[in-house]
Symmetry: C2
Subunit: 209 residues, 2 copies
DNA sequence: GTCTATAACTAGATAGAC
DNA sequence: GTCTATCTAGTTATAGAC
């Protein structure tokens, strides 16, 4: 296993748990059992390392997810919102096959990236992987044509919040669920629970304000 | 204006924008125009300062919100979910009268607190202000009795995510909305938009998994 | 490519003069 | 209560030997 990969793996796990700001290069390199200077040799800076960690997931997820959404829209009959959000399940869970804990790590990182580091990750995501977002907006518009683009904008951000926040604290939530309700739960259960919630939210009646 | 208040005001604003980890005591004291050592003199540590900033809001919000929720549940007819979530509006907007930008700052801080600092704020909130949470769970249960406690647990966390995430990036979202849709928007508009979303989410049909 | 050593800087906290 | 000065420990990043 190369030094580069060792760094990426350690960074991924630590970033997910402690956030980007909360993780030092020293912690990463000591967990990876490589030299501190290796990060700067291989990635140039901490910011570039963050991008590399995210890209490793996004390069796998983005085409799969875009394809699923485009395919759904090709049907004669328009999709419903539960179907739109269900399109995320396979591409997201596929990350578990690429990497141990891939799905959970990725979603937690996404959550971190939106609140740590003043929106730099939002910028990176929207400029580097815009096709995911546009195919998603497209699918929602087909499923619920009465929604204005403005209303879609807001509701997609609410959805992003729901998912990202839930996932960034999913470990704690799963712990609580196991203790309080004595139910074994994992990340795919959480995903299945969140789909009806966000589908209903996006599909809520339009409120004139 | 006392040194203590000057520190609280500066910390509140900086924490909201940059997060707790992302704000140094030096930034706070220099914006407050007080001496660095004053923070430790008045609050003891950065952690205690964070608690003090949050408590200033929670001491006002908590009784008002609890009262509104309890009152709603006293009616003969059970409340609907839109009414439950609408109960939050007045107590939240009231924070604007206590402090300039109070509502927005508080909600942003709440968002920060859930992702920064490994759940220490979650612990602080649930142990110090438990009556808000229990009166909320109670109201939801009255509005939608078919929901199991476990399902309520999950959906309330999804809701927390929606609100907290939206609010922690509300400045950026409002900017985008103003630019892309040419619509003046403020925090109370965002709150009004989010209510139908979360009400529909919590009220979603139950999915057997 | 990988290492040691260290530069250059920032963090939170505190002792002690006033 | 408020100040300066300083401590200790942490940070990212890099120069240069191997």
């Amino acid at each position: 296993m190369s030094t580069k990969t060792k760094i990426l793996d350690a960074a991924e796990q630590l970033f997910a748990v402690r956030g980007f700001n909360g993780t030092s290069l020293r912690e990463i390199t000591s967990q990876a059992e490589v030299n501190l200077a290796a990060v700067n040799y291989h990635f140039g800076s901490k910011k570039e390392l963050i991008k590399a960690v995210m890209s490793r997931f996004l390069d796998v997820l983005s085409p799969r997810l875009t394809l699923a959404l485009v395919k759904l829209c090709e049907d004669e009959t328009p999709p419903n919102l539960v179907e739109v959000f269900s399109s995320f399940v396979e591409p997201l869970l596929h990350l578990n096959e690429v990497k141990e804990n891939g799905t959970s790590n990725f979603l937690q990182l996404l959550g971190r990236g939106y609140t740590d580091s003043q929106g730099f990750l939002r910028w990176f995501l929207t400029t580097t992987y815009p096709e995911v977002i546009s195919s998603f907006v497209n699918a929602v518009q087909k499923a619920y044509p009465e929604l204005t683009r403005e209303e879609i904008f807001w509701r997609l951000h609410f959805t992003m919040g729901t998912v990202v926040f839930t996932m960034s604290s999913s470990d704690a939530l799963i712990d609580i669920a196991v203790n309080d309700f004595d139910k074994q739960t994992d990340i795919s259960d959480v995903i299945k629970r969140v789909i009806p919630y966000v589908a209903a939210g996006v599909g809520a009646p339009i409120n004139k304000i």
